[in-house]
């Protein structure tokens, strides 16, 4: 303990080291604060959406007199609430929709409509604790550890220090622990504050803290491997900077490019357009053909499927659903492609620890691609329930009034049912 105290004192006397740690602390604090603000904004938006729903439904109740109107005008909220760790790793939450108001119309267009604006939102990038851990903390670790031995050698103190008893145990070990521990502390303290504010479950907070520790251990090991080689401080710093550049920027970007080139994914916006065009074409198709295709999927509604010569909602919602089926395979290919890319990126993460740790943080925070796809699947499952709820009214000609609006299925963010 006294060795650690002594080395902590020495570190504390170095203005440069303190400045680096303070800067990292401020960045980590800012990352947590921005994460908390983003999560809070998400929650507020979700709350606003949910708070507005009763007013929306009472407005609808003023004129709804059949199920078709209810299905057509009745927007239902779905949302993907931020997890208790989302503040620390925003992941895809800044580019993927976290709430969506849907109707019983064709769904695919509704889901992918959101993507048209997302690239704009993604341009500035995100600044959260995960970014600080993956990109900035290694630089401070490199700054504190690259000259562990070479700095002493160049200053002429190395032999004097080595000449003391058990130098490895009493000097170098504690010095490494204090420097790496200092970096870890300035990352963990803001995280702990954020976790306390958010009410993160202790186990999940510990797991996330464990990933931060792993990230620090990785870069500590890399820095020490380079520092032990006996080169000058300048060479060590340059080598480590190059390694940081390669491992955190170049290699993950190259892997991302290779994965994207190797796994083609249909364009989400094109998918939405295709869905919409097929739905629009539904107006021009023979109504009998539409109904036959629909009833092949829902034979239980055949008894009530006869159409009047004029417009009827059951035909309208039938071709809406067929529009979804038209792009079902493309939609699945889209999801499979995204999932496949995520799988490959995860595999690449084993070779590129910084990228792997970044993914692990997003996965634990449920802000990764898998969480985004799972939310989409919950929307699809809920949309099926919503459609089928209205089909029962439409095909049985059961009366539908304002009171029935209260029985419309609700989205459950946990299960989607």
């Amino acid at each position: 303990m006294s060795d650690l105290k002594r080395e902590a004192w020495l570190l504390g006397r170095s203005r440069a080291a303190l400045a680096a740690l303070l800067l990292l602390f401020l960045c980590a604090g800012a990352g947590v604060a921005l994460g908390l603000a983003t999560v809070s904004r998400d929650r507020a938006a979700i709350d606003r959406m949910l708070a507005g729903q009763p007013a929306e439904e009472s407005a609808l109740a003023a004129f709804v007199d059949d199920a078709g109107y209810g299905a057509y005008y009745g927007f239902q909220p779905t949302w993907n609430p931020p997890s208790d760790l989302a503040f620390a790793a925003l992941g895809n939450r800044d580019i993927a929709p976290t709430m969506l108001r849907i109707r019983a119309l064709a769904l695919e267009g509704q889901i992918y409509e959101n993507e048209a604006a997302n690239p704009e939102l993604a341009l500035p990038g995100r600044f959260d604790l995960a970014f600080v851990v993956v990109y900035l903390a290694p630089l401070v670790l490199i700054a504190l550890l690259h000259d562990l031995w070479s700095g002493e050698r160049e200053a002429g103190r190395l032999y004097a220090l080595q000449a003391t008893p058990a130098a490895r145990r009493h000097i170098w070990g504690p010095r490494i622990v204090v420097r790496a521990g200092g970096v870890l502390a300035v990352l963990l303290v803001p995280f702990a504050v954020g976790a306390a504010i958010t009410g993160t479950s202790p186990l999940r907070a510990l797991a996330f803290a464990g990933i931060i520790v792993l990230a620090c251990l990785f870069w500590t090991a890399v820095a020490l491997l380079v520092a032990r080689r006996g080169n000058s401080s300048a060479v060590n710093a340059a080598s480590l900077a190059a390694l940081w550049f390669a491992l955190t920027l170049v290699a993950p970007a190259a892997a991302g490019l290779a994965i994207n080139a190797g796994v083609t994914v249909p364009d989400g916006a094109a998918l939405a357009r295709e869905n919409r065009e097929d739905v629009h074409a539904g107006w021009d198709r023979p109504r009998d053909a539409t109904m036959q295709r629909f009833l092949a999927l829902y034979p239980q509604h055949a008894p009530g499927s006869a159409l009047p010569p004029t417009f009827h909602w059951k035909w309208y919602f039938a071709f809406q659903h067929l529009g979804d089926l038209h792009v079902a395979s493309a939609s699945k290919a889209y999801r499979d492609g995204i999932a496949r890319r995520a799988d490959l990126a995860r595999a690449a993460g084993w070779l590129l620890p910084p990228a792997g740790l970044s993914q692990a943080m997003a996965r634990l925070a449920r802000t990764d691609v898998a969480a985004q796809l799972a939310y989409q699947q919950r929307i699809r499952a809920y949309h099926t329930r919503l459609r089928e709820f209205y089909y029962d009214y439409l095909f049985s000609e059961k009366p539908f009034g304002p009171a029935d609006l209260a029985t419309v299925p609700r989205f459950d963010p946990a299960g989607g049912m």
């Binding site: 020495l10 032999y159 080595q162 000449a163 009493h170």
Partner: protein, 239 residues
């Protein structure tokens, strides 16, 4: 007979495939100051590094206070204070903080009063005690380091070119400090090129050549302590 602070017999040290120290023998009594003279590459610093356990020996025996260096280097280092050629302190720390830090590193913390006494003993001006080492001259650094060595109270001190770069006055101060160490019973092994300084202070002077002590002179109890002409010609022939 007391255990000698340093005992070396037929020491052999190789660096790579080159034999640097080749059969060197040397023994120091408590309080004895021994100057090891020799040209560049003669094996002076290598001998110091072997004593400190930085380099493995390939032959011979080497004990400090009766402890074999190879068997227990940490026990040896507890008994040795080492001053490298360029005494380097932490520039951002004061003299007092430097001494405090290095004493703690060596596992022998001392009180503030002891440190002050150490500084007084080596003649470091009181104004410098709480001054950052970045502003120190080489002489002040040297005094700080010797105060540190004194405070460690080790029976053996190893000095590598201690007067290199010191002005004549500072070198004079330094040699007086060595005499103080000797009087306190600290054995000193000093590696140096400074023939005059060695003649002024040392009890014995050894000339190292091709990795072994080629000639040795012992100080006379009367002045002049050494025959400078003999020393100089021996030293010149070794170079």
């Amino acid at each position: 007979m007391p255990t000698p602070p340093l005992f070396i017999a037929d020491l052999v040290v190789e660096r790579g495939d080159k034999r640097i120290v080749d059969g060197l023998s040397l023994s120091l009594a408590p309080g004895e100051i021994y100057a090891l003279l020799g040209g560049n590459g003669a094996g002076k610093s290598t001998t110091l590094f072997a004593i400190l356990g930085f380099l493995e020996r390939q032959g011979g025996s080497l004990t400090v206070g009766g402890v074999d260096v190879a068997a227990n280097p940490d026990a040896v280092r507890r008994q040795v204070a080492y001053l490298p050629e360029n005494v380097a302190l932490y520039d951002h720390l004061t003299a007092r903080e430097n001494v405090d830090y290095f004493l703690k590193v060596a596992g022998c913390p001392r009180s503030r009063a002891d440190v002050d006494a150490g500084f007084e003993g080596v003649g470091l001006a009181a104004a410098a005690w709480d001054e950052r080492a970045a502003r120190f001259s080489k002489g002040m650094r040297q005094k700080t380091a010797i105060a540190l060595a004194l405070l460690r109270e080790t029976p053996l001190m190893l000095l590598d070119e201690p007067t290199s770069g010191l002005d004549p006055a500072a070198a004079g101060d330094f040699h007086r400090l060595l005499e103080t160490l000797g009087r306190r019973g600290v054995a000193v092994l000093m590696v140096t090129h400074d023939l005059l300084g060695a003649a002024d202070t040392a009890d014995r002077i050894g000339l190292i050549q091709a990795g072994r002590i080629a000639r040795e002179w012992t100080a006379s109890p009367t002045v002049p302590r050494f025959d400078l002409n003999a020393l100089h010609s021996g030293f010149a022939s070794a170079r």
